[in-house]
């Protein structure tokens, strides 16, 4: 087996760092839900949710890029994100609330 090239190694490290960041955030969010519901999450559960979230991001990224390209743009905007969230009620509401909150703040 050939050793990893420099670029591949960099990319792998970069990915691992990002996964670690996701894992930390997922841990924090799960902690909130745990306190809210009076239940405990096993470490494997948090790792699983973290992995699932990271993988979902790949689908999100590719879809967002396609939506923007469809609109003949290179910059992904809020409308693209809203389109992404359309299938899930809770996700779609989160995009609405944030926009409403942002415009209320400005």
């Amino acid at each position: 087996m050939e050793p990893l090239g420099e670029q591949e190694r960099e990319r792998l490290l970069h990915t691992q760092r990002l996964k670690a960041a996701v894992h930390y955030t997922v841990g924090c969010l799960c902690q909130e839900v745990a306190e809210d519901k009076g239940i405990q999450f096993s470490k494997q559960t948090i790792a699983a949710i973290s992995e699932i979230t990271f993988r979902q991001c790949e689908n999100f990224a590719k879809d967002l890029e396609m939506f923007a390209r469809h609109g003949k743009r290179t910059v992904i905007n809020s409308e693209d994100v809203k389109l992404l969230a359309r299938r899930s009620n809770s996700l779609y509401s989160s995009t609405d609330l944030t926009t409403a909150g942002a415009s209320a703040m400005s």
Partner: protein, 82 residues
């Protein structure tokens, strides 16, 4: 604009930006600041929903600890709806 209102936890814009950029096919693709904010919030909701659904599954089985099989059970609904 940097003040966080409700929760101290959640995804940061820079992290979300880096993750998305990992998977873009085109070098020129960028994400607007607003879109990043929305994506971060969307990911917060995604994680909270995954956690809540898994927790509910564990509670339905009369357990006080969420384990990986509970996540596995709710996974199809979670991912299908996205």
């Amino acid at each position: 604009m940097e003040k966080r209102e409700e929760s101290a936890s959640g995804f940061r814009k820079e992290t979300v930006n880096k993750i998305l950029h990992l998977h873009f096919k085109d070098d020129k693709t960028r994400v607007s600041s607003d879109a990043l904010l929305l994506m971060a919030e969307m990911l917060n909701v995604f994680v909270r929903e995954a956690a809540a659904r898994s927790a509910r599954q564990a509670q339905a089985e009369d357990l006080d600890r969420v384990d990986i099989e509970h996540v596995e059970k709710v996974l199809p609904q979670l991912v299908c709806k996205v």
